[in-house]
């Protein structure tokens, strides 16, 4: 645990900073919207009631659903995360501010009126100070809510501590999970205490403080933008998990080695296939590694059946991406991360099983469990059953991260696998050869817009150095280092590049 913290301290601090940044912006925007709205509604009880209702309804929508709903409108990344958080935080702030402002002893309001004070005096010297404890407690509730919910931002590439929670779940890495969860909890507690303290400070000081923070913040943002503009920044993202992270780190090293004026920004564990593809289309990211099989199955529209010849299927994918989306798909690496069925190596030896055809003969003795997607997709279990005539003793679906362990523990006898999964090595599992070429080939290659490729030929050249490199065994070993041994992806990537003379230092 401590080792993990030391090794990753830089990234953890960056994620913490990003978490605070997202939470703070969302909180400030929510306050700027909700408090003045409550002030306006003081004299409009019906309007106030209406706003309360609407905010309440928004509150009941799960935050994950709000994130999903926003993607078509604002895309992915930090912006939709902030919008969702703001929507979420408005209700507690508004509700508390409004009831604080409207439940002031009417005799005090009458007194203020009777002395002939101005509206401004009444608001700033009477109503707001008297409602302040309620307003502050609303803000406290909202901030704690925001800090907790910000962990979901990682799902749509918003970054923050949620990234560690996601990585922890995806790669079975308890250290990452604990870091993400504990840090966000501590952050919530600290913020809660800090705001409680602020509640005891006078209104005037709070206003001055917030104004100062806004100015500093604005200055920082503008300043960092100005500095950042001098060099070209390329954003490369990867899907969830260790393998894409290793790949994009290789991309970064290769590009930066050849192009000193280019700065590569990595967004690892950025999301699922459709997130990344949308992000690439909208220009939020410039490059991400994609598999030929996924392109054919999920991204392009085609009526032809998918070729099982790797070269052919890559050419098809490349052409269809160009036609349908005007994208450039660079040359693939050597390894294939195909679907396969895995069994215990002990069983393989005992029954002398090498191919799926071998398995067919014994299938009625085997209990199977599959990833739910694999269980349903035509290129998964249903197709497999038809092609090989396999009939298992029992078939059920199982959370993907659990299935290898279940297999190793003799709970099941066969499961679906990816050929580069490090768990195959970890749990002494064997994959069976697809002797009738049923599974489509999954070759990895960098995907980008055609316009980007045209504008950056040197980047394309750097990335092509990986074409035909990395064997399945290499990839499995690197995945093992990252996902099981918990070594840093950037180091594992660099080691490979150095060993194969792809970079110099």
């Amino acid at each position: 645990m401590i080792e993990y913290l030391q090794k990753n301290s830089g990234e953890i601090i960056a994620a913490l900073g990003q978490h605070i940044y997202i939470s703070a912006i969302a909180a400030i925007i929510a306050i700027i919207i909700a408090v003045p709205l409550a002030i306006i509604m003081i004299d409009h009880p019906k309007g106030g009631e209406f706003v309360s209702q609407v905010a309440g309804v928004i509150q009941t929508i799960p935050s994950l659903a709000i994130l999903g709903l926003l993607i078509p409108f604002v895309g992915i990344g930090t912006l939709p995360a902030i919008i969702a958080l703001v929507l979420y935080a408005i209700m507690p702030i508004f509700q508390n501010s409004y009831s604080g402002l409207t439940n002031i002893d009417p005799i005090l309001i009458e007194a203020a009126d009777a002395f002939g004070v101005s509206k401004r005096f009444k608001l700033f010297r009477v109503q707001l100070p008297l409602a302040l404890p309620m307003i502050v407690s609303g803000i406290r509730i909202a901030v704690v809510l925001i800090i907790g919910t910000t962990t979901l931002a990682a799902l749509i590439g918003g970054g923050g501590l949620g990234t560690y929670i996601l990585v922890g779940i995806q790669t079975n890495n308890d250290n990452a999970l604990v870091v993400g969860a504990v840090l966000s909890a501590i952050l919530a507690l600290l913020a809660n205490g800090l705001i409680k303290l602020l509640g005891k400070v006078s209104l005037k000081r709070i206003v001055i403080g917030v104004a100062t923070l806004l100015i500093l913040f604005g200055g920082y943002t503008v300043g960092s933008k100005l500095i950042a503009q001098r060099t070209q920044t390329i954003t490369i993202a990867g899907k969830m998990g260790g393998e894409p992270e290793v790949l994009i780190n290789m991309y970064k090293d290769l590009i930066e080695e050849d192009n000193p004026n280019v700065k590569v920004q990595l967004k690892s564990n950025f999301g699922g296939t459709s997130f990344l593809f949308k992000a690439l289309k909208s220009g939020k990211i410039d490059i991400y590694p994609e598999f030929t099989g996924t392109v054919m199955q999920s991204l392009v529209k085609t009526s032809d059946s998918v070729s099982h010849n790797p070269q052919k299927s890559y050419q098809e994918a490349k052409q269809l991406l160009k036609q349908q989306f005007d994208m450039t798909y660079l040359k693939p690496m050597k390894y294939e991360n195909d679907y396969a069925l895995a069994i215990r190596t002990a069983d393989a030896k005992k029954y002398n099983l090498k191919t799926l055809s071998d398995l067919q003969k014994l299938s009625s003795n085997f209990n199977a469990a599959f990833d739910p997607d694999f269980y349903q997709q035509a290129d998964g279990y249903p197709g497999l059953k038809m092609t090989y005539g396999i009939e298992f003793a029992s078939v059920k679906t199982m959370e993907p991260s659990l299935r290898y362990e279940a297999l190793a523990d003799n709970k099941i006898d066969v499961t679906d696998a990816y050929t580069t999964d490090p768990q195959l090595r970890q749990y002494a599992l064997t994959t069976l050869k697809d002797d009738q070429s049923f599974f489509p080939p999954y070759q990895g290659a960098p995907l980008m817009k055609a316009s980007f490729a045209k504008k950056n030929p040197k980047v394309v050249k750097s990335l092509n150095k990986l074409a035909g490199k990395i064997t399945t065994k290499d990839m499995q070993e690197m995945n093992y280092q990252v996902s099981v041994k918990h070594r840093k992806a950037s180091i594992v990537a660099k080691e490979y590049l150095l060993k194969h003379n792809l970079i110099e230092k």
Partner: protein, 312 residues
């Protein structure tokens, strides 16, 4: 002079004030009295525009207040509310300065005026000006409320049941204070109360209101001696008969502490009317209240100390 001309106020639930005509003279301490729901507070709040009549007009110094700048008007009207109604987020000094700030007084003049008034109401400025309202007793808070109302040397001072929440001792002290302050500064005071004793004690003139109708206007002794109708008569009878306790007679210094076997014991919560019935039946009967002997003459002598209609 404050004039109400044909003033009516109608709410959805009915008529709160019905065609009311009333003049309040310059410099008098005028009391509006009546049971709750009689419309007295509604009437008071029409003077500073917190409430507006449905029909009719209110004139101050011969000007219809509809035509005057309402904030300007309020700057020159002092207002004392129930239980002080001090702003809990401001110090005593900030509370009493509100109208002076609005009137644009400079710091020195403001401070001198506030200190002078604080001393006058019996609060040491050095001790009290920096305190928060939560650190004051009910009586102290209402004294500050009075300072706040008088600070700007207003033309009119309105008081809306200011002492109803106070204990009897503080109430008596503050009634005395208001009485004296009015005598000193000779500004028009309009005072609302449901307490008949308070009304009789303070008023130069008073108006009796009942269910939105003006019942009678006059000096306390006129109203007591010539009640205009049965309601006024009952209201005052009721009020006097229940409220003078034997303890008040003893507090006024009557009676001697001794033992007498013939004295009839009576409780300190019985009234002088119970006592007078006893004397009516047995003219020479002594009574004893908590070991204090009272003679029949004490009743006559006590009654003689009371002003007409004014019961302390």
């Amino acid at each position: 002079m404050i004039e109400f001309k044909n003033v009516s106020k109608e709410y959805e639930q009915g008529l709160a004030l019905n065609n009311l005509n009333l003049n309040i003279d310059e410099g008098e301490l005028f009391v509006l009295v009546g049971p709750s729901g009689s419309g007295k507070t509604t009437l008071l709040k029409m003077i500073n525009g917190l409430n507006t009549p449905t029909t009719g007009e209110i004139r101050i110094a011969d000007e219809d207040i509809k035509n005057s700048n309402i904030r300007q008007l309020r700057h020159n009207i002092g207002y004392v509310l129930q239980a002080g109604a001090l702003f809990p987020n401001m110090t005593v000094e900030q509370n009493v300065s509100i109208q002076l700030d609005l009137l644009g007084w400079n710091e020195t003049r403001k401070h001198d005026r506030i200190c002078e008034l604080m001393v006058r109401v019996g609060l040491d400025p050095e001790t009290f000006l920096s305190r928060m309202p939560s650190e004051l007793s009910g009586g102290e808070a209402q004294r500050v409320g009075i300072v706040r109302a008088l600070a700007g040397q207003p033309n009119v001072v309105l008081m809306d049941e200011p002492f109803s929440a106070l204990d009897p001792i503080s109430r008596a002290q503050l009634q005395e204070l208001v009485f004296e302050l009015h005598r000193e500064i000779k500004t028009t005071f309009v005072f609302v109360t449901h307490d008949m004793q308070e009304a009789l004690k303070l008023a130069d003139r008073l108006a009796v209101l009942y269910q939105g109708e003006l019942q009678q206007v006059g000096k306390p002794q006129d109203i007591l001696s010539h009640p205009a109708n049965q309601f006024v008569k009952d209201f005052f009878d009721n009020d006097t008969s229940v409220e003078i306790f034997l303890q008040q007679v003893i507090d006024a210094g009557f009676g001697v502490q001794q033992t007498d076997e013939t004295a009839i014991p009576m409780g300190d919560d019985q009234t002088i009317f119970d006592w007078s019935r006893e004397i009516h039946d047995r003219p020479n009967q002594l009574i004893v209240v908590d070991q204090i002997i009272l003679q029949p003459e004490d009743l006559v002598n006590y009654m003689a100390t009371l002003r007409v209609g004014v019961i302390r």
